[in-house]
């Protein structure tokens, strides 16, 4: 019988959304032009050649290696691209994705990438044309809300701060802004360098939509452990208890 990955426990919307992010079965909500994604990433000018750190693999005369025969290189690796990054900051106020689930998405679904998880930011590094593809997938999908999530290479401060009055996540460098037409515009790249033109990222999710798509447990959304005086444990807690107990007991080993 073929194994079907379960990915994550729980029957709440948060559990279901976490499974979607991990499995890669995510809904596409928008289509931001590739050139715009490249401009926001800020590593190369849209249309410019990719910088490379080595010749294409085909020209390198690689050794006879069973692993190389088994694993086909990504497009970026085959071309010899340098490794670049995209980094996201997701608000704790019901942003659809959260750092570990962006990382799980990357690690499970994106070949040749290196995710890194922190509290206020999440980075994925990969060969340049590969990371551009992965970044566009994230930008276009339900993993991202353009008001509650933003690409921030540095000065990422904002995930835990109250929202601006217009519902935007705080950004010290103001890399995005809410337009009068209700669309969110990118005005600076990842590291805060002004863009040549404003990039329309589309309309943000409504609060109800964000709550529906979020992967964060919160007491005012889907709580993980019920409330004070009325505890009700989600399966996520039971799973965590199980892992913790087994890790603790394994470490004892009094032999």
């Amino acid at each position: 019988m073929a194994y079907t990955p379960q990915f994550y426990p729980g029957s709440t919307s948060v559990g279901i959304n976490r499974r979607k992010h991990m499995s890669g079965n995510i809904e596409k909500l928008r289509d931001i032009p590739e050139a715009d994604v490249v401009a926001i990433m800020g590593h190369r000018a849209p249309g410019a050649d990719y910088a490379s750190t080595h010749p294409p693999l085909k020209e390198m005369g690689e050794p006879d290696c069973p692993v190389r025969q088994l694993v086909a290189p990504t497009a970026g690796a085959a071309a010899g691209d340098r490794v670049r990054y995209s980094q996201w900051t997701d608000s704790m106020y019901f942003a659809p994705s959260i750092p570990y689930f962006r990382s799980y998405w990357g690690a499970i679904n994106c070949k040749g990438c290196d995710p890194g998880t922190l509290s206020g930011r999440q980075i994925i590094e990969a060969r340049e044309r590969d990371i551009e593809k992965y970044t566009k997938q994230q930008y276009d999908s339900e993993m991202t809300d353009v008001a509650l999530c933003s690409m921030r290479g540095c000065t990422v401060h904002g995930h835990s701060l109250r929202l601006e009055e217009n519902g935007m996540q705080f950004d010290m460098l103001a890399r995005t802004e809410m337009g009068k037409d209700g669309n969110v515009y990118a005005v600076k790249d990842q590291v805060g360098i002004p863009l040549d033109k404003k990039i329309n990222l589309g309309k943000p999710m409504t609060e109800a939509e964000a709550k529906k798509r979020t992967t964060i447990f919160r007491f005012d959304g889907v709580p993980m452990g019920g409330k004070i005086g009325a505890r009700k444990f989600d399966e996520a807690i039971e799973m965590t208890h199980h892992m913790w107990e087994y890790r603790s007991k394994w470490g004892y080993r009094p032999e």
Binding site: Y100, T117, R162, G167, T215, M224, E245, S248, K249
Partner: protein
């Protein structure tokens, strides 16, 4: 259901920070982007930097070079309330460079060494035929308190140190022998009966027995010029010279070598161990300081033993400042970021609120401190309840979340409250540690984020070392320290581990955690830092009310 504590202690601090009429529950706000001018301290910095411009002949402090011209203060720059005190200071005032009390806390540790007297007395009596009586001991202590600051005793034409520069130096003795203690001149005695509650005094005296010890605190200015490794050398030289003077000995005969060894090296307790070469520090530097010793240095347990949470939180404060701000933040790394992590654990009454909530819950459930079974199930129940409570507070009070704006701050506080609760409830530090790690895992699972990269290693792998007794993996928490393999890299942990260590013993109402000698030594009223009131003393330092030792102004032209 066992839920008692509903005080929300942090609200007072939030009102002081954000303004009394501020809506603390709103998830939205207007960011006015007022820049550094909104902070009195930043204004002071800018004004001072302007004064220095001509003098230095080169540029210096200028907040407008930050982030390509976007200065600090795009959000509200809020002050910090030292937990359980009335002190409200700017964040800048809690960087150890700006806070003389914090510097003095560390100086008081590294300038301290404990040296036994008994073996030296035996050599004097048996090898050299000298008589040792309470009178000779008092005479010796008078000479020693002349010599230890840096004065000559048997030589001619010697240089000496200015008494005004070294006035913090002192040596007092202590013993578990009441009869001997009665004979010691009161000015040279750490009186255990006077300094500790009666029950604690009896335990300490029984543990120390008839032995006698010198609590040596060399001048602050010496360790600031040299380092902690100097303390044993400085102390040893002055001790042996004093013996020669006090007991009219020959300064050259071979027998003196026996005395020198007995007096200087045979019974010596450093405050911390030497570190391996890759970290390149001698003894009496912070990296080798165990959590148990740190718990014993803090004296809150003798002035407020009935409140084990308060005791533990003062240890957390001391540990966070030393291990995070000075050790990891400066010795091992550098810069200013570590202060932000560390202050979360001792400001704004947040950790206080979470810990009192947990301990009240445990007391209701198990009938008192240290009454719960020492089992993994107790850690599971308590750490889960405390973590969920704390998470809910961050969610219900967005300004609280904004106050602890980094995941590492929140992780440290939630896990510390869980660990302190589990340790006080069970009276066992390893149960506390188990609670710490469960909190970390639950936190990560709830919010899909934890701290910075290092938390992946230390906290997600951590449960495996809690109960391990394989020597390279495990240890009772009391004996672990800043250099424990898995603990050597992460801010927001070591002070809290010291607090959990303390919590187990505070819950049991123990007189000390690991070492009765350390506990009594830091009860010395001659120390400059206030070891019973850590957070209050940090507040004094931040408010510019604290006078540190080791200053050089006496021998310099005035500014």
């Amino acid at each position: 259901m066992a839920v008692k504590h509903t005080k929300k202690l942090f609200i007072k601090a939030l009102n002081k920070k954000f303004g009394k009429d501020f809506d603390l529950a709103s998830q939205k706000t207007e960011y006015k982007r007022l820049g550094p001018e909104q902070s009195a301290r930043k204004r002071e910095f800018m004004e001072y930097a302007k004064k220095l411009e001509g003098k230095r002949g080169m540029t210096g402090y200028n907040p407008y070079v930050h982030a390509g011209g976007i200065p600090l203060g795009q959000r509200q720059l809020v002050p910090y309330k030292l937990s359980s005190t009335e002190y409200v200071v700017e964040g800048d005032d809690l960087h150890f460079v700006n806070n003389p009390a914090m510097q003095q806390m560390w100086d008081d540790i590294r300038r301290t060494i404990i040296v036994g007297l008994d073996m030296a007395h035996e050599v004097l009596q048996k090898r050299l035929g000298k008589e040792v009586t309470p009178e000779t001991i008092n005479n010796y202590l008078e000479i020693l308190n002349h010599a230890m600051p840096g004065a000559a005793v048997v030589q001619e034409h010697m240089v000496e140190t200015h008494p005004g520069l070294v006035d913090d130096c002192n040596v007092r003795v202590f013993t578990g022998d009441d009869a001997l203690a009665d004979e010691i001149d009161a000015q040279y005695l750490i009186d255990i009966n006077k300094m500790f509650p009666a029950e604690q005094a009896e335990v300490l005296k029984a543990a120390i027995g008839k032995t006698s010890w010198q609590a040596v605190h060399i001048p602050t200015i010496v360790v600031r010029s040299c380092d902690g490794g100097t303390t044993s050398r400085w102390s040893a030289m002055q001790l042996s010279m004093t013996f020669i003077d006090a007991y009219n000995m020959c300064a050259g005969e071979a027998a003196v070598a026996d005395l020198a060894y007995a007096a200087k090296h045979a019974a010596v307790l450093h405050m911390s161990d030497m570190l391996p070469a890759r970290r390149a520090r001698g003894p009496n530097n912070p990296g080798g300081l165990s959590f148990g010793y740190m718990a014993d240095m803090v004296q809150t347990s003798r002035v407020k033993p009935q409140d084990p949470v308060y005791v533990s939180l003062n240890v957390v404060a001391a540990g966070s400042m030393l291990y995070d701000q000075i050790w990891l933040g400066s010795y091992m790394s550098g810069g200013v970021g570590f202060t932000q992590y560390a202050t979360a654990a001792y400001t704004n009454d947040v950790l206080d609120d979470f810990s009192y909530y947990g301990v009240d819950y445990a007391v209701d459930k198990f009938g008192g401190f240290a009454k719960a079974p020492k089992t993994i199930d107790v850690a599971k129940e308590l750490a889960t309840e405390v973590t969920l409570y704390g998470i809910e507070q961050y969610e219900a009070f967005p300004t609280l979340l904004e106050d602890h704006f980094g995941g590492s701050q929140r992780a440290a506080v939630l896990a510390a409250a869980s660990g302190i609760t589990s340790a006080i409830a069970s009276g066992h530090s390893q149960i506390g540690l188990a609670g710490w790690y469960l909190s970390m895992l639950l936190h990560k699972e709830a919010w899909g984020r934890l701290g910075f990269f290092g938390y992946d290693l230390q906290d997600q792998c951590g449960p495996t070392n809690v109960f391990s007794y394989q020597s390279d993996e495990g240890n009772p928490l009391e004996l672990r320290g800043a250099n424990y393999p898995n603990y050597a890299m992460n801010v927001g942990h070591q002070g809290e581990y010291a607090g959990i260590t303390s919590a187990a013993h505070a819950g049991r109402m123990d007189a000390f955690a690991v070492s009765p000698l350390i506990k009594v030594t830091f009860a010395n009223p001659g120390l400059v830092f206030d070891w019973a009131n850590i957070r209050d003393c940090f507040g004094k330092g931040g408010a510019r009310e604290f006078r540190a030792a080791g200053e050089r102004s006496l021998v310099m032209p005035s500014v």
